[in-house]
């Protein structure tokens, strides 16, 4: 199957469209989850300094 045929099949077939939506939203959720963790970890990273406070 050529790339063009694959694209046409994706575009015209019922089903793959829903998968795209799910992939986009789930990927976004994962990225935001990781980013939130990264921000909060900033506090953990600094925790050794707490002893001076």
């Amino acid at each position: 199957m050529s790339l063009t045929e694959l694209w046409v099949a994706f575009y015209n077939t019922a089903g793959p469209g829903g998968v795209v939506i799910v992939i986009v939203l789930v990927t976004a959720c994962l990225i935001y989850w990781r980013v939130t963790n990264w921000i909060i970890n900033g506090g953990k990273h600094d925790r050794p300094h707490d002893t001076h406070a």
Binding site: I39, I40, N41, H49
Partner: protein, 461 residues
């Protein structure tokens, strides 16, 4: 550590006490919402026959609501993200109020679509049998991502303030304090956390700016990708976008004026903020009329039969009253007010903003219904007509009531002015001062030891 803000008590005052007036307001708004839900259930039982929708006018008030609410939702992103990217520091006190408009208007935009469906039980077919050929799927992707990103953007900017409430408002009801503990996810207010938060918000602001353009363009493509007269034009994307930013910014003016009055926030929402918004609104109003002229001049100059049926119906036909009324409400009267009366006068600004939003709702209606009443292949389909029923009108009012209810409750649970973003001294400045005074810079907030911070699962990765 929490940044020092001398207005902290003033901003937190609405969170400390819920009065009888609040409960009365919530009851009234909740009652209207319930009435709308009741009428929707009736519509589900009896079918779309209870609406004024017919052949060939398949989309009416509900789809107008959808476009209008998605448009309102652009206010938050505009004030918060676009002005953040542009480095406009004056926007700081407005950001949360604007983001809340986004957060609470988007769900009602989505609900409007579901209300419009004759078979809402088939909504999941979009996921199971979705075909990306359809512009509706582009819409679901864009609006879904926008809703998710807006929630995250607002939540992240709320984090330091939630932690502040967790640490300082210990006399609140237990459930409320527990909610702050959970939502604060262990925020300690360290320098590194603030740096990372700022960096993330800056990055997200750029992404959100891109999203805001994408979302309303894609919303417009639901119309523009069909070969209907009045819709099938490349201008429809920017035309929808500019209208959305105009109505969204006007919604922010209305909300800010109400908050300022009800919660006595004159000190943190000074007059100069409204003057800055006034300048933006003058620009947007002029931009909007430019788009109207470009849109209709292009269509009318082509003089094709199908296009002219729609344009004539707006200029001097069945929809002329609405069309010219819209021009008055969105452009003529507000522009005169913004230019001559709006400066240093919040009352006039609010009045003009209300007119703009009424006019913008009519504008959405005017874009949708005339094209359907005079569709392509008019000679086969015949001319249509549409008059909304009381059911559609009350359900629409209930959307607004629902949005106002969520907003009112939100302002009693979270500070509507960002405390950390409007602080007099940042954590960095406070740490530097402490260091200069010969003390070790405290890196973490002195949290209530009896309440250990709640860790995010996986945060130790």
């Amino acid at each position: 550590m929490h940044p020092y803000n001398p207005n902290e008590d003033l901003i937190l005052k609405p969170v400390r006490k819920v009065g009888m007036a609040d409960k009365f307001l919530w009851a009234v708004l909740g009652g209207i919402l319930l009435l709308g839900i009741g009428l929707y259930i009736r519509q589900m039982v009896m079918g779309l026959g209870v609406t004024g929708l017919n052949r060939p006018v398949y989309w009416g008030v509900y789809i107008t609501d959808f476009v209008f609410f998605i448009g309102l939702a652009h206010s938050g992103t505009f004030i918060s993200a676009i002005l953040r990217v542009a480095g406009q520091s004056w926007r700081a006190p407005l950001t949360r109020a604007a983001e809340a408009v986004t957060l609470f208007s988007l769900p009602f935009g989505v609900l409007a679509i579901i209300t419009d469906m004759g078979r809402p039980d088939r909504v999941l077919n979009l996921l199971f049998y979705g075909r990306y050929q359809s512009a509706l799927l582009w819409d679901v992707t864009a609006v879904g991502l926008y809703l998710l990103s807006s929630i995250v953007f607002m939540y992240l900017s709320l984090l330091p303030d939630i932690a502040l409430m967790r640490d300082k408002l210990t006399d609140l009801p237990r459930w409320q304090h527990r909610m702050y503990e959970i939502l604060a996810i262990g925020w300690q207010g360290s320098l590194a956390q603030f740096h990372r938060l700022e960096k993330t918000l800056d990055g997200m602001a750029i992404f959100m700016t891109m999203l805001v353009v994408t979302v309303h363009t894609v919303v417009s493509w639901v119309f523009g990708m069909s070969l209907q007269p009045g819709w099938h034009t490349a201008l429809i994307g920017p035309f929808f976008l500019l209208g959305a930013i105009l109505s969204g910014t006007c919604a922010v003016v209305i909300v800010l004026a109400l908050l300022r009055k009800v919660y006595n926030l004159e000190k943190v929402l000074p007059l100069r903020l409204f003057n800055s918004l006034r300048k933006l609104l003058i620009t947007f109003t002029l931009g909007w009329i430019y788009m109207i002229i470009a849109e209709y001049l292009t269509g009318a100059y082509g003089n094709t039969t199908e296009e002219m049926h729609v344009i004539n119906s707006k200029f001097y036909g069945d929809f002329a009253t609405l069309f010219w009324g819209m021009i008055l409400l969105v452009f003529v009267v507000p522009l005169v007010i913004f230019l001559l009366k709006g400066k240093d006068n919040i009352g006039w600004m609010v009045f003009a903003s209300i007119l703009v939003n009424i006019g913008m709702w009519i504008e959405r209606f005017i874009v949708i219904v005339p094209t359907e009443a005079f569709p392509r292949l008019l000679q086969h389909l015949g001319e249509g007509s549409y008059l909304p029923t009381y059911s559609e009108v009350i359900i629409t009012i209930s959307y607004f009531a629902g949005m106002a209810l969520l907003y009112a409750i939100f302002t009693r649970l979270f500070p509507i002015i960002p405390i950390w973003e409007t602080a007099e001294k940042t954590v960095e400045q406070m740490a530097a001062e402490a260091e200069a005074a010969g003390l070790a810079a405290p890196q973490a907030a002195p949290t209530d030891k009896s309440v250990p911070p709640v860790a995010v699962p996986g945060a130790a990765d």
